[in-house]
Assembly symmetry: C2
Homo-oligomer: 375 residues x 2
């Protein structure tokens, strides 16, 4: 069923999107400001359930691309997203019935909402990553056979381009990344135009609802002085992201970060202990924009595509990679991803080895993290 | 008046285009093979004089872009140029009445001929550089107010993109260059789509005829055992490239070349003497893809946009930057460019300072080179 997203939901949605960003995806609170402004001016947004889409409507996903550290420094003018969409519509000779996020984690949960509000378009409650990922071919859209091309890209000074690399979505990513660097490190894109029937087949469903529910669970627990992880585990149990595991509690002791213009790569070390244990230990989290791998004293506790989230210890507020600082007290959790993100085809595109890791994918619920409430 | 270019003209045209390439522009003989094949299959080409174009016809210039050293190693499949043209036609929603070179020097004298033969299109006898230059904004088209955007770019594996940077043709160059690097260093482009009226206003006229006449003068002089420079000077005297100066005769003693993926930069030193002088001296030629500046023992003899050409001493065969070798015996000549390439607006775009040189532009006929026949 379609539902309405209004101003009051935006803080919860941004908090949930930050958690689903697993450290990356860009700061959703920057995007939130733009969405709030657009809703104030144009009214609340209509969110469509993917199951209610007619098979033959045209859906055009939209997003921002760039390294999170650059994105954080460069507020969009607010017109780039709409321009990317228009450029693709003109190229296709058709107008979009609705837009959709490509990524429900981080700022890209917000970018489609902003342009949808401005353009009076509905937004489909689904996305192509079910979290955040660093590259455009890392989408279930691509995994299940939709072509990302033609892709439209727009910069802040009115620059625009349409890229077509046929079925090769990795090459599309390379081309778009090269232009994003030319555009100063941030660009807006419209890509993976598809039919309603394709959305139902290839998108991760109800991930805007998921982000909203995650943010709401954390907030309401705080207001009730309950442990946010309990409410979060309870909410996630009702979704395809059913398993939450508490991996570690401790203090950030080291963060190593390198930006090469397109990606932020690095690792964080957290000193503390595993839940239910008094033994001192160390958790190491490797990231490429997003957290990819968590290992405690040699034992793998979670690995991509499952979610690895670093939260402030008391408030459970998600901390992004660029927000990590020495001395922060944190809890680290793992969350299982839906079955469609764990197939062989999906793991080939965004599993551990797609990021150069040597691990076989193992579900977080089969590893050594603790069930919340039992720790 | 329209004229016909057939197989027998191609060697002369390629030789002339190599000379007008002033050391760069890519090897026209590679392009010649492709044109010969296309003419054999599809018949001779119709070349249109710019003055006979109707004002409202659509002309779409086409070219190859990339560093000459890469271009020389990577023969085009022969379909990329046509695909770039089709991509731009589809974007514009109009088909081209004719194509035109953007550059009459080097391989880009040939690329439009190949696709014109395949597509059955006529070619306009004009171009946007009046020689060869390394960057896409360095065109009289741009100098006199035509927008290069939208630009279509195509790669050998079917990749294509349309770039639109509005009136900023330097930014268009940057974007296209970034995609060319992604495409392995060579790409085909269609850009500066314009009306027949605009061609008459902004293009350097009759430069295919010029290349053909240059190549023919050198060949017929050889066949008659005359000095090729004499016939060349005689022919050029009948064109807007009226002044030929003999700058130096000697032996190549040093060549320094750096390729950064997009450009070849460097310098050549030639040991010998100036015409009419028995004093030993040294000529230094700096280049960025093309020869930019010639200086003999501290005295400037020619500078961009005037042509600086290195020829084999006996045959007057043009030598490209990548063909320069230690020990070659050479003659170096300078050739004046038409008035429209020497205006303040033109010099701002492709004069000495546009290449980081400190010289004021001075016409080659006002500098110290010798008039051929008087040396």
């Amino acid at each position: 069923m379609a539902w309405t997203l209004d101003l009051d939901d935006l803080h919860d949605l941004a908090r949930g999107a930050a958690l689903l960003g697993t450290g990356g995806g860009g700061d959703p609170h920057v995007g939130r400001l733009l969405v709030a402004e657009a809703i104030r001016e144009h009214g609340p947004l209509t969110i469509l359930d993917p199951e209610e889409l007619d098979d033959d409507v045209l859906i055009i996903p939209t997003a921002q691309m760039g390294a999170p550290t650059v994105v954080a420094e460069k507020l969009p003018a607010g017109t780039e997203g709409s321009r990317a969409l228009t450029t693709l519509e003109e190229h296709l000779g058709r107008t979009a019935f609705a837009t959709m996020p490509i990524e429900c984690g981080g700022v890209n949960s917000m970018i489609p909402l902003q342009l949808a509000a401005v353009r009076g378009l509905p937004v489909v409650d689904a996305d192509g990553m079910g979290r955040a990922f660093p590259e455009l071919q890392m989408e279930t859209f691509s995994v299940y056979g939709v072509s990302g091309s033609p892709l439209a890209i727009a910069g802040e000074a009115g620059e625009k381009a349409v890229i077509d690399t046929g079925a090769d979505n990795k090459r599309m990513e390379d081309f778009a990344r090269a232009l994003t660097v030319q555009l100063g490190g941030v660009a807006h894109i419209a890509e993976y135009a598809m039919s309603g029937a394709e959305v139902k087949r290839v998108a991760v469903p109800r991930t805007l609802s998921l982000a909203l529910g995650v943010g709401r669970a954390i907030r309401t627990a705080r207001e009730a002085n309950e442990d946010p992880l309990h409410r979060l585990a309870q909410f996630l149990g009702t979704t395809p992201y059913a398993h939450l595991r508490h991996l570690f509690t401790g203090k950030v002791v080291d963060v190593e970060r390198n930006t090469d213009g397109a990606f932020v790569r690095g690792a964080a070390r957290i000193s503390g202990s595993r839940p239910g244990s008094s033994a001192a230990g160390e958790l190491r989290i490797g990231f490429q924009n997003e957290n990819l791998r968590a290992e405690a004293d040699g034992e793998l506790l979670a690995v991509v595509p499952d979610l690895i989230c670093i939260l402030e210890a008391d408030s459970a507020e998600p901390i992004t990679t660029e927000g990590l600082r020495y001395g922060q007290r944190v809890k680290v959790i793992g969350i299982s991803t839906p079955a469609m993100m764990r197939t062989q085809e999906a793991l080939a595109v965004f599993g551990p080895q797609a990021f150069g890791l040597h691990d076989e994918f193992t579900a977080v619920e089969s590893l050594g993290g603790s069930i919340v409430g039992e720790d």
